[in-house]
Symmetry: C2
Subunit: 210 residues, 2 copies
Amino acid sequence: MKTEVKKAGKKDTETEILKAAKKIFIAKGYDGARMQEIANEANINKAMLHYYFRSKDALFGKIMEEAVHIMADTLIPSFTNEGSVMEKLERIVTNYIDVVSKNPHIPLFVLSEMSRGQALFQNQLKSKMMENGTMPAFFHQIIEEQQQGKLVAIPPQHLILTVMSLIAFPFIAKAVFIEMLDIPEQSYTAMMEERKAIVMDILKKSFLIN
Amino acid sequence: MKTEVKKAGKKDTETEILKAAKKIFIAKGYDGARMQEIANEANINKAMLHYYFRSKDALFGKIMEEAVHIMADTLIPSFTNEGSVMEKLERIVTNYIDVVSKNPHIPLFVLSEMSRGQALFQNQLKSKMMENGTMPAFFHQIIEEQQQGKLVAIPPQHLILTVMSLIAFPFIAKAVFIEMLDIPEQSYTAMMEERKAIVMDILKKSFLIN
DNA sequence: TGTTAAATTAACCAGTTGGTTAATTATTTT
DNA sequence: AAAATAATTAACCAACTGGTTAATTTAACA
């Protein structure tokens, strides 16, 4: 039973298209991206894009799906694995900064395209984070530790929002920030690495009791 | 000397166009916005857009300029007025959240359009923040207070980045966040108001010595 | 009031865009 | 090797886009 012996170029072309589409869509957004430009980037005929992925919408959907996938699959294990709230936060901060450092354009891409548009992808992300009751369980754990006097009594959604702010925003504002403060690209990367410790320091000082 | 006695509809039409353009550009971005849609929104003929503002680029430039203007003019006085670093931060946090609460789409709009593109607007923002040496002076004040043992010794750019993260991100991620956590629009507005105190609490616990 | 200038419009235009099609080439299958 | 199927392409197309133009309406002015 040969399940994956595709015809010659097939898998290769498909992968090449996705690679090109990812680059162009993330750089220019859905509206700014041109099917012809994606085809050029992938060194194929424009008709192939439709042959493999029916429409611009469908192709974009695939890219968005992947981006959400990368984010969700990085964060969810950090939430679900054992440990105290602060231990989980430490894993979230570390993993998120690591993954996003390799895909620095994803956060702004996901947020701007999601805010613009179709509830489709929003629901996708939502179900990813809610499935298995990941988030509700984490909320519950926060409240529990607050009642045990381990954590400062702050609404859980504010805590989550704070953590996300501290780790995501630096990547979202990167372009503007390095321009405004004349920071060279390279040293910004270093800043992101330093950021792990700084963020954890902030979180502990702000939310940990003792 | 009558400087501003324009012919009848003039000022009105111009204002109406800017209002419509602001709405459409912010909702759909430069690439997603259509001149025809802006004209419809303003209840005028499409040719009027070009009559008053030459081109889509020029019209967009005006909107972007205004957005940057709103942000800069809110923040700069907070930096330049007298007071300690923490007092200045308190004004920044309060003013920023107040202004952006009235224009909740501006941060994501500015960041995504700036990241996408022309260094034009980046330089605009940069010069706004750098003129009169606003930022350098604030950096200097931070370092001074750190040497006096009043503030934790953290690189000033990390401190700024942290403050901006805490106040800007909640608006940038609003759409995704309220969808993911099923928070009603209204209570998110309330959250932003609570946020002023929460952010100040975080900043003081994290950066203030004593 | 009649002349001049500004404001507004409908119709138009050339270039672009996502998408299709019919024909050609490459690859399996028998 | 021939038939069948899949991959690939060039040419094409209708809809749309930003922008223009020539004509008309409205307002200012002397």
